[in-house]
Symmetry: C2
Subunit: 146 residues, 2 copies
DNA sequence: CATGATTGTTTCAGAAAATCAAGCATTTCT
DNA sequence: AGAAATGCTTGATTTTCTGAAACAATCATG
């Protein structure tokens, strides 16, 4: 069951989540700056390092307009971190993929693994398991994509 | 004690945190847009609704250049949501404070309370307590300010 | 199969956000 | 009092972002 959550405890938890969010972002921004990338560029590069994606798909994942993605990819491409490839199936589509150097940079950026190492260092495996189970119960966090 | 955290479990937790971060941001952006505010403006307004702050202090909390804050406050001021007040102690300092309408807008924005209501609805009070305790153990999340 | 609608990307114009360097006023230090 | 430091703003520039319009390619349908 669940009661309407406006009690102090829920607010404190939200506040803590807010702090984690802030820290997450801060480290991300720092790592990006270290590599002379903006946050938006680093985000897209990390995304493409996982797997190549069509422009439209990137826009959907970033929840922004496709025309915005064009510019970001332009700049990443100009630096040799990303390249545009044709889609063999649909000739309208252009697939952005990380180059070798892009993959190297993405790896250097750290991202999730480094956050895992630094932020969760204090928690035991059992506590991590509990944390995972609780986070999974937050709606919209079960599936990979909406 | 703590082991180096690069194991799959830690990575999954970071991934979940990432999802929560994304959701947090998404709702923030949505609420801001609803009020014809940008995310940056909404963030500053929420900050000032809690308590007035000098420009420099805002910049520190946003981790950006003071000159950036000038512009954001300019636009909020132009819309009557914020006003600049002199600091009675130091005549260099300008204190930004939310106006009555600014406070109203900030309240309408929802922010933490609405996230608490929607995202944490499924968790019981006991589970929330556990979650709080675990989040508190993430370094840099204990104190209010760095 | 031809035509019309839809889709995927880009271009353009424009606002906002962000950085950096410089400038100005005020405060603090010596 | 004079020099250094502090707080904010301005101006120039880049990046992010949106929305409208253009264009090519695909799809749907009669």
């Amino acid at each position: 069951m669940s009661t309407p959550r406006s009690d102090p405890l829920a607010l404190e938890v939200v506040d803590l989540i807010g702090t984690v969010v802030a820290r997450y972002h801060e480290e991300y921004a720092e790592a990006a700056t270290r590599h002379h990338l903006t946050v938006a560029q680093a985000r897209v590069l990390a995304l493409l390092a996982t797997e190549p994606a069509a422009m439209r798909s990137i826009a959907r994942q970033l929840r922004c307009e496709p025309s915005n993605v064009t510019g970001i990819i332009d700049r990443l491409e100009a630096r040799g971190l990303v390249e545009r490839l044709p889609d063999p199936v649909d000739r309208r589509v252009r697939i952005a993929a990380a180059t070798d150097e892009g993959h190297r940079t993405a790896r250097d950026l750290g991202g999730a693994p480094s956050f895992a190492r630094e932020a969760l260092a204090e928690l035991s495996a059992e506590e991590l398991g509990t944390l995972r189970d609780l986070l999974r119960r937050i709606p919209g966090c079960g599936g990979t994509d909406v």
